[in-house]
């Protein structure tokens, strides 16, 4: 199909216009579509960024008791001590400055993350071996605990006793590590 406007290039943009209840179909090439203002260059980048920035310019609701917590700084002044990025700058660009920003802006992040990640705010994936700290042990412990519950319900006490010992040993390891850290 050839472009309705320039009658030269192939029509690649197909639009349906509704005017006074009447439907008209428009078939034009990309260049004519841009010239007529039907589409823009870098449309995708623009809308994504726009959308994100819209999400971040988000005023947190007041806490349930109706009071702002005393320690909370006003939005403009919230600033990352490590890289110097302010919350305002973060909201404008939609990008963090460093790892510390996640801690600095922590209180304000949940609503943003919830919107971007379908309601999720907590990581549930891979844990790096070294940086992950005690998380491996804690996840393992949680897993053993639910397994223990299942064994008890099924009255498999011998297996349950073994698992209980495993949990105790994990507890010891965790305690040792936490003492080592402090």
């Amino acid at each position: 199909m050839e472009c309705q406007r320039c009658h030269n290039r192939a029509a690649t943009v197909h639009l349906t216009q509704l005017m006074n209840g009447e439907k008209t179909e428009v078939h034009v090439c990309e260049q004519c579509a841009k010239e007529k203002g039907y589409m823009h260059d870098h449309e995708e980048n623009f809308t994504l960024n726009d959308l994100l920035t819209g999400l971040f310019n988000f005023e947190p609701k007041q806490s349930p008791n109706g009071q702002q917590t005393g320690t909370q700084q006003p939005k403009e002044q919230l600033k990352c001590p490590k890289c110097g990025l302010t919350f305002k700058e973060f909201a404008r660009a939609g990008k963090f400055g460093c790892a510390e920003c996640y801690k600095t802006f922590d209180e304000r992040l949940n609503p943003i993350l919830r919107r971007v990640h379908s309601g999720n705010t907590h990581h549930d994936g891979k844990i790096p071996r070294r940086e992950g700290g005690n998380l491996h042990l804690r996840r393992q412990k949680d897993q053993y605990k639910s397994e223990l519950q299942r064994l008890i319900e099924q009255e498999e006490f011998e297996e349950a006793a073994k698992l209980r010992d495993e949990i105790r040993s994990l507890d010891d390891q965790l305690q040792d590590r936490e003492e080592g850290e402090s």
């Binding site: 990008k95 400055g97 790892a99 379908s118 999720n120 705010t121 070294r130 940086e131 992950g132």
Partner: protein, 356 residues
Amino acid sequence: MSLQQFMNEAISPWMKQDGPDSDIVLSSRIRLARNFSNIPFPTISSEDNLEKVLNFFNEEFRSESFRDYKGFEIVKMSDLQPIEKRVLVEKHLISPHLTDNSEHSASLISQNEQVSIMINEEDHIRIQLYFPGFQLDRALEQASQLDDWLEEKIDYAFDEKRGYLTACPTNVGTGMRASVMMHLPALALTQQINRMTPAINQLGLVVRGIYGEGSEAVGSIFQISNQITLGKSEEDIVEDLHSVVKQLIDQERRARQTLMHRSGIQLEDRIFRSYGVLKYGRIIESKEAAKCLSDLRLGIDLGFIDHVPKTILNELMVLTQPGFLQQYAKETLSPSERDIRRASLIRERLQLENKE
């Protein structure tokens, strides 16, 4: 020397292998975003810090080898000509974003071009790993091992609550983007893909054409990827993607059969007309080339055309992009000159294959 290798061939060595369901799935990719814990992200990092990251890779990983991928070659963006950068983007070895920030960015590329580790993109580290065909599980397993190998030497920015910390909140958590490139001509032709997209979006997955979002995907090539990176494990994300891709494969095969059954002659006509354009055309725009190549590939898959190997299409899809055409011509070309070069290059390649 190796840069020359990356520049010369349109298709990467790994693409020459056949993968499962490769009549429909072109490639599977896993990308992991990682950062150094104690250095600001590249978005705001000082020149010194960016240089520090770059040097670290230059010293620690240059010519290191990991598993079957053999040695890594470091390709610094500051050493490349604009056309060379463009060729690497067209081969999907680097992202367009990496070339924006040229001064202190680089990519470590494995010899078979299956792995590239982008340095100082939006994040300090972007690990990218490709497999031919539909092999998401394997891609994830290998990417994770590669990640472990890097983590032995790097203190990653990681937080118990938020996971891997990234410059953009859309990547935080797993830092993982899993994606599958699919050739879906029958679903595109019957417009079924448009009807399926909203349902796929509801699962936290995105469908887009490789030449941009919005209008129809040129060349009927679609990329399906995960949007959510927080609150789900890597395995769960890959499993969700896997099941959707499997359904799309089934639907595409069914749609092809229906098309053959109901309008076989129209389909055959379309395929052979496209083949004619590729074989005899003198001026071909990139979108027309993509459409005709897609038809030709469908023609091969359906058995209408049997003397052209499928890989030539993967090759021509890349080779007919502006960067490659100019690299091949060894000069800068205007768009209309490119359309002429493109046509002659396609004719040349098709004739080459016919003689064999």
